[in-house]
Symmetry: C3
């Protein structure tokens, strides 16, 4: 842990962005709103709501600054000299994201350079300020662009390319020939580029189809811990820019995912399926192979999608259907007691 | 494998605990009740039921001792000199657990000390009898208390603390600052303390919320192979004492799990949800974010829990509901054929 | 990547097997049928259908050979001198599998021998042409038969045996005493032989049952990335020959799986369940403990199997039931709107 440089009101005005009420403040740490202890004098707290009670609490807690919705800050009736600063924002969640990044005490990398215990093939090419952690492996012909961080025990296959400022956490496996864009984060244990699950029935049992394609992660993609993204049979499995994939998700071979998609934990996308832009998929959902999820569609957690979903639709259930119909179906099933009583009474 | 020292009747009386009938015996290995081969003369078998047929079988198999329910042992009609010992217990499963621990031939650790190939930061603090396996990594300022075992290729992050006698199996990742209690077992590939899945929509796509909190595993917690437990946004994700988490389970950021909870394989608990004490959750269940599962609740395998569950309740289904209601709903759906015939006949 | 030696018509006739129409050809790479670019002159493409339009396209693309169903090749009306070769096959998927294996440019192993950074116990026994990758660990008394490949960072436990020509990819963990057959493929991050999830309630909380059994993978088994197969309490968890297990699948302790089974991604099989031969299980299905799935049964993706399934049956749904009944149930639920209107109208 290293203490970040303090964040001043002036910087906060630009960063969050925020309108600054009250005293100048310089904050060094982001405070947990649910913590019961007193706050240190250099702490900032982000509150989704700031009413009179919350204001009284945080004033007493001795915090340096309170981030809250502008309308809540405007409505504060009781403000005195010496009170904490109020940083009024339009979007407290965005402010939280930016403060969390700015005040993250964890160094992205322990030290720039290649750890003595790492095994880096001499034909690999490393850009400026690259960090390769202990016991990591970088294969022949791999390319690590500027500012890449390779975590302890991670493995980059032969001929793979990791884009500038991307981070591979502990034990990540990026297989041979995989292309990772810029500023991607791959969390511990993720596997990108393993052979897909494809077999052909032969006279002596299933024969494996070797997957000669690859995986392309575009820029700013995030892949969760122990998640798996399989390489294509031929061609590429593609994950679009700014798409975020949670822990233990499975992406099958030849899947194509658009940009700005969110896929929550333990969801599975079977082979050759296409996911449009800005799609949101809840946790533990399953999407069958060879279907298409249109742009801006929303899939409920736990849903089992067996056919294509039109753009903009919200689907849920197993098998999945439009949410409106699913809710109606649940309502009608709730009427079964009455229906059965009626039928029994007249049969 | 190392042969454990033989377990005598005297020790068994205390350990299981058991009432000893028949000859003194010393056993060195736990025998598989489903094995068809003859048993070696130093074997003990644990039987959930011991009737006359089973007794005849095991007497002939030449086994040293039979562990069985006291009532079954009392009811044995045909016992002669030279027969195997009968160890009568109140709870055969508990006896199995204790015998399996006592007679485990696998050394917990190949050798105490730090393997020459491990990379241990010089600022890490190691207690007595700590074992750090080959190619493991221990980061700056990490603390390994007495008798900790770090498996091959496992990684302990900067500032993390591993409590006395805890065991990290192969390739486990414990991230920076995570607190692991005493006597915990983390199985191969588990990831504890990765950043949670939290983003804020920004003008140029989702912006990641850095997770500045941590994970606290209390004492005697077990985490399954390739399971993931995310660190909190702020504060801590907490797993209570004696809670057991199976393989491939996902625990989201800021989840709080009570004590003595059992969570079976592939279940997912989404962010900020609270699980009470002694809750039992079946395999592949999903629990939504920000809900509360009360103490002693039971959740069926495969259930999709979308709202809070009262203490003591049993829920199942997708979306989940009280099991009694779910069973009734299944019954009524089974009546649909008759209902439809009735309606068609009169419409 | 290394260019494979070109595959000639003569070899293709035997390998696929194919009937050869048109010119002799020697191909060096397998081409993606969905690629829009022109094909290089040494490429072969496998087409599930070859009609006149496709033929015109691939002729123009300048490809060396087209693999297509015999009936489609026979029906080609417009064939001239200088056209690409037609390799007529009975089964294009099988042809794809065999071409993908024959033309895989990825060397199975960077170099035969033990990498200088690997940690191999001196009591381990290595056969001919074994390759142990960087930072891999091989424990005491382990046996690696001829032609085994151990990937970077993989770990083979004490006393484990890896059969001839089996491949462990990056970071695979094979625990102590596990038996892996011949020609098995274990993908990155898979864990085979971790302790099962078994506990006994004791006076001070759950007591762990140490799992003293093992795992046996027979020949030609495939285990997906980050999948987990637990060792038996006593005896063995068994996976039969030619069975293929996809990514993130969980196989519980004491499960017995037959031969030629296919289990798709994220499916879970709970403890002590038996799966027959040639069973096919879709993705994200769950099978309860202590049930039996008969030979040739088919389980739909997402199904929750709570009881035994007869041989040859197809089941789906949650809880799972015969597919025919499940489809009928879905149909009847679709009639609920009409039923409810009828009942409301007469109540």
């Amino acid at each position: 842990m290293t203490d970040p440089t303090p964040l001043t009101s002036v910087e906060a005005r630009e960063l969050l962005p925020a309108r600054i009420d009250g005293p100048e403040a310089a904050v060094g740490r982001l405070w947990d709103p649910s913590a019961s202890a007193e706050a240190p004098a250099d702490a900032v707290v982000v509150l989704a709501r700031l009413d009179a009670d919350a204001w009284a609490h945080w004033r007493d807690a001795g915090i340096a600054a309170v981030v809250a919705p502008s309308t809540d800050v405007d409505a504060l009736a009781d403000v005195r000299d010496g009170d904490p600063a109020r940083w009024a924002v339009a979007d407290t969640r965005l402010a939280l994201a930016r403060l969390s990044r700015r005040l993250d005490p964890r160094p992205a990398v322990a030290a720039v350079g290649v750890d003595a215990s790492a095994v880096v093939d001499e034909s690999a090419r490393l850009g400026a300020r690259v960090a390769v952690g202990p016991l990591a492996v970088v294969g022949a012909g791999a390319v690590l662009e500027d500012d890449v961080v390779i975590g302890a025990g991670a493995s980059v296959g032969a001929g793979a390319r990791i884009g500038a400022a991307s981070v591979l956490r502990e034990r990540v496996v990026v297989k041979d020939g995989v292309i990772v864009g810029r500023r991607c984060w791959l969390h511990a244990g993720a596997v990108v580029g393993s052979d897909g699950f494809g077999f052909a029935p032969g006279p002596h049992g299933a024969e494996r189809i070797h997957h000669l394609g690859t995986v392309v992660l575009e820029d700013d993609v995030e892949v969760g811990a122990n998640a798996c993204i399989d390489r294509a049979t031929l061609g590429a499995t593609v994950v679009g820019s700014r798409t975020k994939i949670d822990n233990l998700v499975q992406i099958g071979h030849n899947v194509r995912i658009g940009t700005d998609v969110l896929i929550a934990g333990q969801t599975g996308i079977a082979g050759s399926t296409t996911i449009g832009d800005r799609v949101v998929i809840g946790g533990a959902a399953g999407v069958a192979d060879h279907v298409e999820i249109g742009d801006d569609a929303r899939i409920a957690g736990g849903a089992g999608v067996t056919k294509s979903v039109p753009a903009g639709d919200a689907w849920g259930g197993y098998p999945a259907q439009p949410v409106r119909r699913w809710v109606r179906e649940r309502y009608l099933i709730g009427r079964l007691e009455a229906i059965w009583a009626f039928v029994k009474g007249r049969a």
